[in-house]
């Protein structure tokens, strides 16, 4: 159990590093990469919460977060793609 809390602390440190890149990241792609990493941290924390509390509901939360993260990353990536393409056409 204590080891699981250590996992939560490690994931929290990873989230802090991700937030640093999210706020700092020079290009939009850097920020989306950081967002992807934060969603990975959230999925891991969801599974950890399920293990610690013993409720399977948190696994459904993790599944939902994984799907939302996928759709969000895809949408942002497409937006960056189209924005950059427009920028190339008419500078």
């Amino acid at each position: 159990m204590t080891l699981l809390y250590a996992c939560v602390v490690l994931a929290g440190l990873a989230a802090l590093l991700g937030f640093y890149r999210l706020l700092r990241g020079p290009t939009a792609a850097d920020r989306v990469v950081a967002l992807d990493l934060l969603f990975a941290v959230a999925v891991l924390l969801g599974v950890a919460a399920a293990l610690i509390t013993g409720h399977t509901a948190f696994l459904d939360v993790a599944l939902g977060l994984a799907l939302v993260g996928f759709v969000g990353t895809l949408a942002w990536a497409r937006w960056i793609d189209q924005y950059a393409a427009r920028e190339e056409e008419s500078p």
Partner: protein, 106 residues
Amino acid sequence: MNNLLGLGLCQLGAILLLIAAWGVVRLPDALSRQHAATKAGTLALFTFILGAGLLMPDPAWIGRLALLLLVLLVTLPLASHALARAALREAKAMKDRSSDDQGVER
């Protein structure tokens, strides 16, 4: 035995995720950051979920964890591919624009 192995795998997964985050902070450009986040992050999630499955050998848990693993297996490569293409396109556009600006100024 299973318990110990499961806890070890969970720990390894969390450490791998931290390494992925460290790579996202330290690596020089968007493409290499994306590479660190996706590959190390995927391995971290898989290791952690495998450890969780070993800790809770119960049908309700195994089913949900397997579904989560399947969803991640399908979605993570797709998302990383789209992201890498966007990063490449954006880097190219920014490079073009900065060289254009220099051309205008001189």
